[in-house]
């Protein structure tokens, strides 16, 4: 029982049952005592009325008339009163075999000729100096009523208690089972099994909703953890090479002659390389930040057309200086809900890619279209494109196609764009532009404001 009471589910059910039982008990005793009092008052009034009738007889005809009246009334089939006339303490008439009672109402026991000793309520009034009259009612019927009320309430009380206990046990067990499932899963996850999820029903009750919410949370945690693991892995792999190279250069510079010009060159090159490394860290942290959804607070209603225009205008001179051309067409009336700077950065990265991975004289075109269910920003070029087999691979972190190894960059640009799109509930779609690459930022329409 202590074990059961330690469980909140059981305790709740038991206390609820106990509260019901106490309520029934209170109601039962209330009804019982109220009924008792009402019946007694009725009896007392009846006794007083009967006494008045007989007293009148005595006043009119003396003891004999009273005895006549008593006999007559006793014989009447509807009569429920018993009578005894006393001379002093001695009973002189009436069928009620009882001793003289004190004046007024009293409860006493009399001798029933058929049933033996029986309980009665009586009223004794003196008639004159010697005689006194006792009128009584057998209280057996009232007792029977009491017994019935008591029986019914005891029955009801036991039934409530029994059903309540059964219900409490079942409810407690049900609650405990469902909560156990959650704690068991949590325990398994704490023990390291991240793939575990809470098993739930299709009823969609409160528990299912909690289960679903917890499962969704677990999914998110797993994604974040995987990201973290991937980042640590990537960092370990991809930073070792440039760091080793940096170290080798410094070593070579130190080993050579102490020529200030040469040392200065080595230092400048080392600084350039550390800047690149810091840039790489920056990019990784930026992606992690975006994937963690930390900055969704900056979301606002944006004029996407205008934003694309600003981004393209910002890039146009440097694209032209690089010997490529940039044209854009962005209708100004398309709005979305998002982070202005991140969308700018996504477009910047795509343009940056288009410049860095194409030969001179490449045409870069930026477009903005809104279809039924989405808004798309496309950045297309007529360069060499990306082989179909690599289209999904290039979005991954640190993936750089062999061709790209000769240009600068750390293979995080498209990954960052993908993270930005995911944060906006959209996606980055790469496809063959025949010839060239088409990169499309697809924003879902339900995000439109």
């Amino acid at each position: 029982m202590t074990n059961l009471l330690r469980s909140a589910a059981y305790r709740l059910s038991f206390f609820y049952t106990a509260a019901c039982a106490i309520a029934i008990l209170a109601l039962g005793s209330g009804v019982y005592f109220a009924a008792q009092a009402a019946f007694q008052q009725q009896q007392d009034e009846d006794l007083s009325a009967e006494m008045r009738v007989l007293k009148r007889e005595f006043k009119e005809g003396g003891r004999n008339d009273v005895i006549d009246a008593m006999t007559r009334r006793q014989a009447s089939p509807n009569n429920r009163f018993l009578y005894a006339l006393f001379d002093g303490d001695r009973r002189v008439a009436g069928s009620l075999t009882a001793r003289r009672q004190p004046v007024g109402f009293s409860n006493f026991t009399f001798e029933d000729p058929e049933e033996g000793p029986d309980k009665a309520r009586g009223l004794l009034m003196p008639l004159d100096r010697h005689d006194s009259l006792l009128v009584a009612i057998d209280t057996e019927s009232l007792e029977a009523l009491d017994r019935t009320i008591l029986f019914l309430f005891t029955g009801a009380f036991s039934l409530v208690l029994l059903l309540g206990l059964i219900g409490a046990t079942l409810l407690g067990r049900h609650l405990k089972r469902r909560l156990d499932r959650i704690s068991e899963t949590a325990g398994a996850i704490a023990a390291g099994d991240l793939s575990r999820r809470i098993v739930h029903s299709d009823r969609d009750d409160e528990f299912d909703r909690v289960d679903n919410a917890l499962n969704a949370m677990l999914d998110r945690i797993v994604i974040l953890l995987e990201n973290l693991q991937q980042v640590s892995g990537d960092v370990a792999h991809d930073l070792r090479t440039p760091l080793a190279r940096l170290r080798a250069r410094i070593e070579a510079a130190l080993a050579g002659p102490a020529d200030p010009v040469r040392l200065r060159e080595a230092l400048e090159s080392a600084m350039q390389q550390s800047d690149d490394l810091l840039g790489l860290f920056n990019a990784i942290l930026r992606i992690t930040e975006i994937e963690a959804g930390a900055s969704r607070s900056a979301f606002q209603s944006l004029n996407l057309g205008e934003l694309i225009g600003i981004a393209c205008e910002m890039h146009a001179p440097s694209v032209e200086d690089s010997g490529r051309s940039l044209t854009w067409h962005a209708p100004a009336d398309i709005r979305i809900f998002g982070d202005k700077e991140l969308i700018m950065q996504a477009v910047s990265n795509l343009l940056d890619n288009a410049v860095h991975h194409t030969p001179e004289n490449t045409r870069i075109e930026v477009g903005l279209v809104s279809a039924d269910d989405r808004v798309s920003v496309s950045v297309c070029d007529n360069g060499p494109g990306v082989p179909d087999a690599d289209l999904t691979r290039v979005v991954r972190r640190f993936v750089r196609l062999d061709r790209a190894r000769v240009t600068d960059g750390h293979g995080l640009g498209l990954n960052l764009v993908a993270a930005i799109m995911q944060m906006h509930g959209g996606k980055l779609v790469l496809s063959d532009n025949g010839p060239g690459l088409s990169a499309e930022l697809q924003f879902p329409l339900h995000r439109l404001s």
């Binding site: 930390a294 600003i310 890039h315 001179p317 440097s318 032209e320 700077e341 700018m344 940056d352």
Partner: protein, 226 residues
């Protein structure tokens, strides 16, 4: 010369900052923690503060709030860690005038310090500049070289305006990106250089003696002739 309060608990970083700033002939006072910073800000006179976000006792943002509550008016640059975007937002809201993400180049810090130190109050911002042979009207957004009108694209005008407001001081590439395009990411391309080169060409063909100087690896400066 500026009197600079540096609030930084990491002694390696604060030593580096002190050496670099002293070498640029500034006077540097270092506070190792938040309470020391609040005390110093109260007691001594400074022209500018450099405040690290992560401090051992009171957080940098709370220090800033406390300083501002005490009506200490000097401009403050917050130093925040990589990836801590919330700190940047909170810092600006708490009254920071600028922020820099660690690690940063000393040139970048120096440029931002000078810009903040010389920044005129908003109400007294000049609406008209005459720098060398270039005349800039900020209200009508018109530029003249001598009597000749120079037709600039809106962004080219913005770049020139930033240069003019900071005439004589270096403006870094990231300062241009922030003030002209309001972006704080690194677009990894020579966007600023390309725009500046167009601006230069237009000024030159209008007959200007071309007063925009390139500060190698840092940014640009408009030559100041008083």
């Amino acid at each position: 010369m500026m009197r600079i309060l540096v609030v930084e608990d990491d002694s390696a970083t604060s030593d580096l900052l002190r050496d670099a700033l002293v070498a640029r002939s500034h006077r540097v006072t270092i506070a190792k923690n938040g309470s020391e910073a609040i005390q110093l800000a109260d007691d001594a006179m400074f022209d500018i503060g450099i405040l690290d976000c992560m401090l051992p006792d009171i957080g940098g943002i709370d220090v800033l709030r406390e300083i501002r509550r005490r009506d200490v008016g000097f401009p403050v640059i917050m130093l925040t860690a990589l990836g801590a975007i919330n700190d940047r937002v909170a810092g600006l809201e708490a009254g920071a005038d600028d922020y820099l993400v660690k690690p940063f180049a000393i040139e970048e810090l120096q440029a931002r310090l000078s810009a903040l130190y010389r920044r005129p109050p908003l109400e007294s911002k000049p609406t008209h500049f005459l720098i060398g042979d270039i005349e800039i009207d900020m209200l009508s957004r018109q530029v003249r070289v001598g009597s000749k009108r120079v037709h600039l694209q809106p962004r080219e005008f913005d770049l020139l305006a930033v240069l003019a407001e900071n005439a004589g001081r270096t403006v870094t590439r990231s300062m241009f990106l922030e003030q002209v395009w309001t972006i704080r990411y690194d677009p990894r391309t020579n966007i600023v250089d390309s725009h500046i080169s167009r601006l230069r060409t237009k000024l030159k063909s209008a007959g200007s003696s071309e007063p925009i100087e390139t500060i190698q690896g840092v940014g640009y400066r408009l030559r100041h002739r008083d």
